[in-house]
Symmetry: C2
Subunit: 326 residues, 2 copies
């Protein structure tokens, strides 16, 4: 039985999982995220060591290591733009990792497979192979958090794009009159449908006099966060419910676009915001089904919640290393 | 040398091409488009006969026939929604065509390959294999006409989607405050960036008092067509140039989204509107390059004009029949 080790580098922690080619997680470790470029390689290697210690079995069954990082990663595994960790653009992570990981893992089973890719791409690989995407040939995983990431699987294979920068679904413009995005355009999907977007919609509602109670409860417009909107909506607050309704419209808009563009068998909603999925997702899915021309009949593209939770990225990084997907 | 026959069913004509697996068009025929469902199979078979007559060589080299039709075509080649021809939804075209085409083409070379797909998908296959997409692994072809169609190639293979309905790029919403689309949503890309969209933008400019001369020259707002806007802009009319500028903004918006979503090596602009490409495309490409974060440096996704002209769909249908793409 082949085992892959997957690493998911998040804003606060690095999660490592040892995953069998049948999708079973057989070992796990977590370490604090590195703050610097120099610490990144050390922390990744330490996480592999910690996973191996938890695994306990001989390392000869480990055929590969995968790592998912936020931002753009090219075909060679070189980081371009990244979030959270300062100044890592240009870092050739595979070149730095390979000698140290080969030292850790030996080479009796042939050259170590080493894959570095975008974290949402990894999550999509994990959900498609062993999570909510099982049973379809084409799936799109949308990771909703501070921003919006994505990964696309078609005919059972990850869509990488020419340069490996595909599936930046958060930077699809859905409303050109919307707020400026860090990418330079206006009205990107993640300006509305991420956690940051939910906070924006709430603050806009306050500014426009539609949600005075929300700002008061939060102690001011600047202190208003997505979490507070979700909590207030859960408690039945009508102002918060109205903001969640606007959020649902924008989330549905992008989901409809993805259905039109790629006709997946399933769209999977994951990421940190999925923890608030019971509040945020049902109205969005209802709106999507009501407005999208694929929302009914044989052309329906179902929208579902991710099933691998916070492990999706690490499991998916292992999936890529194992070569489970084409 | 294997030959495929490709058929492209347009609004006014059916174009047939015999194409070698090296991309050479060695025979051609065109017939008037059928107006009824009953006539469709007859016309397609007659077009194959006419291509064979033009070809003159023995039919044993013809390994397959492909046909592209407007609208949605499922994996089995059954038509769902279609434009132009009334009431063809549900027609199992391969089942109707196979016995007659096998009669025409013999079966000495094994079972005839028969492929029926969306016309823009065919155009994308043609451009990728033998046109403006040569030399990249990933390309998107956008066909601009009355509406907007599309075809996506990634890692050298057509993206079909789970049900074969992928690449409906014209129904990507780019402005939710835009006009209602026939699909049920509002502000779809083809409401703005197709020929119909250009006419809409011109009429809106007239309504808003920004283009009185355009309406006068056309003999009224309802008579105003895309062709007139293009002609006036070519002649240096400032009102028309302003409308073309708006058109360019919307075309650029969707192109930027496609670049973000799929990171192709090239985006290819084709379809009937490409005849006016010298007027319409340069401002759109300039706008795209200025606004899209992939518009400069190593991340640039070039936008180019299609190179196969009106034959793209027929050549691409032959490409699909020949199995040139994965």
């Amino acid at each position: 039985m082949a085992i892959g080790i997957g690493l998911d580098v998040g804003g606060t922690k690095v999660l490592g999982c040892a995953v069998t080619d049948a999708g079973e997680v057989v070992a796990e470790a977590r370490l604090a995220s590195p703050a610097t470029k120099e610490a990144l390689v050390d922390v990744l290697c330490a996480c592999v060591e910690a996973v191996l210690a938890d695994l306990g079995s001989p390392t000869s069954t480990v055929v590969g290591v995968g790592a998912g990082l936020p931002g753009l990663v090219d075909r060679a595994g070189v980081l371009h733009e990244t979030a959270n960790i300062h100044d890592v653009a240009g870092l050739d992570l595979p070149a730095s990792l390979r000698p140290r990981l080969e030292g850790l893992l030996g080479s009796s089973a042939g050259p170590l497979v080493l894959v570095v890719d975008n974290d949402a791409t990894c999550a999509a690989a994990g959900e498609h192979a062993f999570g909510a995407g099982q049973g379809v040939t084409d799936s799109i995983t949308v990771t909703l958090g501070t921003g919006i990431g994505g990964g696309i699987v078609t005919a059972g294979s990850i869509v990488h794009g020419e340069r490996n920068f595909a599936a930046e679904v958060g930077h699809m413009v859905v409303d050109p009159s919307g707020p400026r995005c860090g990418c330079g355009r206006r009205g990107c999907w993640e300006r509305f449908a991420s956690g940051t977007g939910l906070a924006y919609l709430a603050r806009r509602a306050v500014l426009e006099g539609r949600a005075p109670g929300l700002a008061e409860a939060a102690g001011g417009i600047e202190a208003l966060r997505a979490e507070q909107v979700v909590a207030a909506a859960s408690a039945g607050d009508p102002e918060a419910a109205a903001v969640v309704g606007e959020y649902a419209d924008y989330l549905a808009l992008g989901l409809g676009n993805l259905a039109e563009l790629l006709d997946p068998g399933r769209i999977i909603l994951g990421g940190g915001l999925a923890a608030a999925g019971s509040v945020l997702f049902p109205p969005a899915i209802a709106r999507y089904e009501a407005t999208c021309r694929r929302g009914s009949g044989p052309r329906q593209v179902p929208v579902v919640t991710a099933s691998l939770g916070e492990r999706a990225g690490a499991i998916g990084a292992a999936v890529l290393a194992l070569g489970v997907l084409g």
